[in-house]
């Protein structure tokens, strides 16, 4: 593999891990809100979370560009206040991947939180645990398989994200050129087939490793407390 191909692989892993890690806490929080709380505008929140799943990725990427671009309302604010620039940076690629993977993460975690018996949560309350402690000691451990599944799905989605990423942060080698963009570029140039195939193999290997890791983790956690 060429140095440029390795760079694309490393960048993809960095983007996917960052996107997954950054969306884990908000993902759990939103999933918990949707699973356990009734509030005004719940339907709207649910729709917004799911929007990237049903919209064309290019549309999501374009909306991100409008909002988070250097002259966009959020992008300009971030740059002036914190000096953070997302457009055409790898961090922007991570943001695009996180947004695209968010509905998958929320869905998986929400389902597993809904499967946790609320009667166990109220029992924990009568034993003196505040709602936050109930979540940390009862709800979270019991929905952990769902959290892992959500994280793996997000990671896999981030590894493969193309449309939104290329629209938002373009395809700059060494900065925003992730695996899918690199493969796409190689297919566009004469003699790029061998490189494209090599990256395709790497992509398949990473996806399968992620799937395997999730199976192993879920099984280990699952057997700890579920009836055989």
């Amino acid at each position: 593999m060429t140095e440029e191909e390795w760079t694309a692989v490393r960048l993809s892993l960095l983007v996917a891990v960052t996107a997954t890690a950054a969306s884990l806490l908000p993902g759990i929080a939103v999933a918990w809100l949707l699973a356990r709380r009734q509030f005004w505008g719940k339907g709207l929140v649910d729709t917004i979370v799911h929007l990237p799943l049903i919209m064309p990725p290019v549309v999501t990427g374009y909306l991100l560009l409008i909002l988070f671009g250097r002259r966009g309302p959020i992008g300009a604010f971030l740059e002036q206040t914190f000096g953070i620039v997302l457009a055409f940076r790898w961090t922007g690629a991570a943001l695009a991947c996180a947004v695209m993977g968010f509905p998958l993460m929320v869905r998986a975690i929400r389902l597993s939180i809904e499967a946790v018996d609320t009667r166990l949560e109220s029992a924990a309350g009568t034993l003196g645990a505040s709602p936050l402690w109930v979540f940390a000691t009862v709800t979270l451990p019991l929905c952990l398989p769902g959290v892992i599944a959500g994280a793996i799905l997000t990671f896999a989605k981030a590894m493969g994200e193309f449309g939104a990423t290329i629209t938002f942060v373009s395809n700059i080698p060494g900065e925003t050129q992730t695996l899918p963009s690199a493969i796409y570029t190689l297919t566009q140039i004469p003699g790029g087939d061998a490189g494209a195939l090599r990256l395709t193999a790497v992509s398949i290997a990473i996806s399968m490793a992620a799937l395997l890791a999730s199976e192993v983790l879920a099984r280990r956690i699952g057997t700890r407390h579920l009836p055989a």
Binding site: L120, T126, P131
Partner: protein, 352 residues
């Protein structure tokens, strides 16, 4: 410890309007299913917010809808043993037991020392097991231990034995008695079983269709618990059927009973209810009498209320209640300890 409840709540078309105060010891909330017992206990625990009313424990107001007071469940220090144990499946028995203790650090309530509670409940050998591998009776004992170790100032028990079979119940009841006598934690005990209430309770609150119909010491109230006119229950086994006279013979701890033929096979168990007004007392073994059933026993207590008196008898270990006129009590010079013969005019049944 004192508990004062005065609340109103509605759920669908069901209306709960209950008011009672309980004393130290075991207070039984007694009533049929659907009488509102569980909702009432959930309100005391803080799992349900009542529409109107007050809940006060030891002078601390936990709920006062007029003043907008509502102390959340986790700040009430009220232990709760649920019908379905609700042990945490991802934690070991030991971790379950210690769960509440951590949150109750250093606060008041009854000092629950781990070793003595584990010993009291006989669950020391289960420590490292997971709840899924426990029997129903073991689960309930662990659930009781878990609630006690959170150092509650009041313990709620919502039919803790209802999900268990007769043998498991018999296994746990002695632990309950030890709990009542040994720990000093006041208990609010929900049950629809006369047997459990009679055995454990000091005070009884009778709930019927969402309303408290009677409150008082167990001996005064239990006779009222059964329908309106009081009575006692006997567990019995069908031993024979007599085709000629269409009779069934039953064996109970109190003695043999003959009743109109039952549609139950020989060997099956039935619960006989004897209404107290269907019981007459005689000082001599009655002879040449039409009644078929005569049980020998001893007077335990006599509670007089105006013209009528309820006499509690011990017939070979079983409780039989008799309702007499106060005049008859005087005429026969009945007093606790006196041997008597109970003449039973009729018996009614519930298949158990």
């Amino acid at each position: 410890m004192s508990l004062d409840v005065d609340i109103e709540h509605t759920r669908g078309t069901f209306r709960l309007a209950a008011r009672f105060s309980s004393q130290p010891g075991v207070t039984a909330l007694f009533g049929r299913s659907g009488s509102g017992k569980s909702s009432l206990v959930d309100i005391v625990a803080g799992l349900i917010r009542p529409l109107r009313g007050k809940v006060v424990v030891d002078g601390q107001t936990l709920v006062d809808t007029e003043r907008g007071v509502f102390v959340p469940a986790h700040r009430r220090r009220i232990g709760y043993v649920f019908q379905d144990s609700r042990l945490f499946p991802h934690l070991s028995v030991r971790q379950n037991l210690l769960f509440g203790r951590w949150f109750a650090r250093g606060e008041g309530g009854v000092a629950g020392d781990f070793d003595s509670i584990v010993k009291l409940l006989g669950i020391g050998h289960l420590s490292e097991r997971k709840p899924n591998s426990l029997s129903g009776g073991e689960k309930q004992r662990v659930a009781i231990g878990r609630a006690l170790l959170a150092r509650p100032r009041l313990l709620l028990m919502d039919e803790p034995l209802a999900s268990l079979d007769e043998a498991r119940r018999a296994e746990i009841l002695p632990y309950m008695e030890r709990l009542r006598d040994g720990t000093g934690v006041p208990i609010l005990y929900v049950s629809h079983s006369v047997v459990e209430v009679a055995r454990l309770a000091t005070t009884v609150v009778i709930l019927s269709e969402g309303k408290v119909t009677a409150v008082g010491p167990v001996l005064d109230i239990l006779p009222l618990a059964d329908a309106n006119d009081g009575g006692s229950a006997l567990d019995a086994i069908v031993t024979a059927h007599d085709e000629t006279f269409q009779l069934t013979t039953l064996a109970s701890t109190a003695g043999e009973l003959q009743v109109p033929k039952l549609a139950a096979v020989v060997g099956s168990s039935v619960r006989a209810y004897i209404r107290s007004r269907d019981v007459m007392l005689s000082l001599q073994p009655p002879q040449e009498i039409s009644a078929l059933n005569v049980l020998a026993g001893r007077v335990v207590t006599i509670s007089e209320g105006g013209a009528q008196a309820d006499v509690r008898l011990d017939c070979n270990g079983a409780v039989v209640m008799a309702r007499l006129t106060t005049k008859s009590v005087r005429r026969l010079a009945l007093a606790p300890g006196r041997p008597v013969f109970a003449v039973i005019k009729s018996v009614s049944f519930e298949r158990s």
